[in-house]
Amino acid sequence: MMKPLSSIIEVVDLSHSYGERKVLQDLNLGIGKGEVFALIGPTGAGKTTLLRIVDLLEVPGAGEIYFDGKCVPRSGKQRLEIRRRMSFIHQKPQVFNLSVYDNVACGLRWRGEGKNGIAEKVDHILEMVGLEGYKNRNARTLSGGEAQRVALARSLVLEPEVLLLDEPTANLDPISTAKIEQLISYVARQHNTTIIMATHDMSQGQQLADRIGVLLDGRLVQIGNVTDIFRSPQNEEVAHFVGMENIIEGVISASNEGIVMVNIGGNALQAVSNYPVGKEVYACIRPEDITLALSRTQSSARNSFQAKVTRVTTLGPLSRVEINCGFRLVALVTKISTEELNLQVGREVYATFKATGVHVMEKGIRQ
């Protein structure tokens, strides 16, 4: 596994159970200083538990956590000292039944900071999150988005070395979401804060993270940079999870200098891969990588199939077009193109995609 040169946090052989239920299994993960790491996975995959263990709120059933090169003890005062170098924003923002000012100031007070220093920092951070007029309001009277910003301010004011975020924008409206995302990337850039965020929102991970870890059923199935995860998912589960809509079963029928032919029920598809002939594989194609045309056009793309439109659904500015070309494919095109090409059920089209746009993975790998 690739490890950054200077990890601030390292998780080694970590496993954790709640009673009989295994929540995390044999996790190994290194987070580099200043890195933005997104932990993606469906609800119940163990993201929150992992964050709780990293924040030292829970002691793992097995395995170790290293913080800044030192092994974190399982009990004792040192845990508090290490925890004070981090900050964790929980999924449901819990504001204390105190004024906004006191909410934001409490972490600094707990660290024994002087009154004047606190006032200055709190004022500055409230301005940054756009809550400067709310100082004396009771935090319980705020809206969800405002409360989330108080929670963020309360953590950021501590200038943590590591910021942990658990679904920071779940249940927020789009405007609040955008504000929070802006703040997160601002902090990452300006303060070089290491950020670990759990999210089930793939686009958020894609947008904010340097690297992504996919957590499925308590196992870290794949860790890699954004392109790796989205272009080359390691197995079927990851592919499904990252929105790879076209996952087609086939067999390698020919292989020549890194280009293979994948036989899909009689149709041959070209892809870049090194699997040997006879290997059972999945060919994965992202819907946005498929071009639809009314006639067979000359291009460098290696794959072009005649197809019939079987279904068209609108997704905002885009159309999701399902076609049948001997096998089922889903293409994502703009609504304007849909109208111009008059794409409707029964219409004959040509589906074109590049050999490099096809990701081939071995069938049946389960880690």
């Binding site: 900050s87 929980h90 204390f96 409490c106 972490g107």
Partner: protein, 228 residues
């Protein structure tokens, strides 16, 4: 019915005229119950926080016992204090039986379970997420408990109010260990008891109304505090 009416008019008369004896009795009630409630709070709030924040074997059982003691009869407490502090008792050398001090001790024993139990349940009412959030923000164990106490302040204040209410309204213990000595250990409840047995229902009624009036004032003050 006439007793109630006459009692009411007499109470108003006594209050308006600031009758010195009534004022003294009411003052003694306030002083003794206020002291016992304050001291019990000083013990129970930290002790309750300690029980709340620690996990140990038999915690559930301990809380059950504490809650059972909510209904401890006042005369039983009176008996206990009497036996302990009587001249021949183990703590007799203090010589405090039939003094306000003994009454304070008795009332403290009486309301301690109530304050302790209600403090624990007030703190338990604060969500686990609040505790986690505080811990995540770097609060030490003590700082977390302090925050939780502040989060639960209304419920804690309600517990203190209830403790005070039980202390000022009890008669059994005050009578047994205080002795209802005029100008020394006579409080409103013991005075009511005595006036009733003397047949002076009006004065007894007036004192009862004054007691309720005091309770009302204290509640108003505490409500004000809560709303801040």
């Amino acid at each position: 019915m006439t007793e109630i009416w006459h009692g009411l008019t007499k109470a108003i008369e006594l209050i308006i005229s600031l009758d010195p004896e009534v004022m003294e009795i009411a003052g003694m009630s306030l002083r003794i119950s206020g002291t016992s409630c304050l001291l019990a709070s000083l013990i129970c709030l930290p002790l309750g926080s300690l029980i709340y924040s620690h996990h140990f074997r038999g915690k559930r059982g301990l809380i059950n016992i504490i809650q059972t003691l909510f209904s401890m009869p006042t005369v039983l407490v009176g008996l206990l204090v009497f036996v302990l502090f009587s001249r021949a008792g183990p703590l007799g050398f203090f010589g405090i039986l039939l003094t306000p001090t003994a009454m304070v001790i008795g009332q403290m024993i009486l309301i301690t379970p109530l304050l302790l139990g209600l403090t624990i349940s007030a703190l338990s009412g604060v969500s686990k997420e609040i505790v986690d959030t505080a811990t995540s923000l770097g609060a030490s164990g003590f700082q977390t408990v302090w925050l939780v106490l502040r989060e639960a302040r209304y419920a804690v204040l309600a517990a203190v109010t209830m403790g005070f209410g039980r202390a000022i309204s009890e008669v059994g213990c005050a009578m047994m260990v205080g002795g209802n000595i005029r100008g020394f250990t006579r409080v409103i409840t013991t005075a009511i008891s005595m006036e009733t047995s003397k047949g002076d229902f009006e004065l007894a009624m007036a004192l009862g109304i004054i007691l309720l009036f005091l309770a009302l004032i204290i509640n108003i003050v505490l409500n004000r505090l809560q709303q801040r």
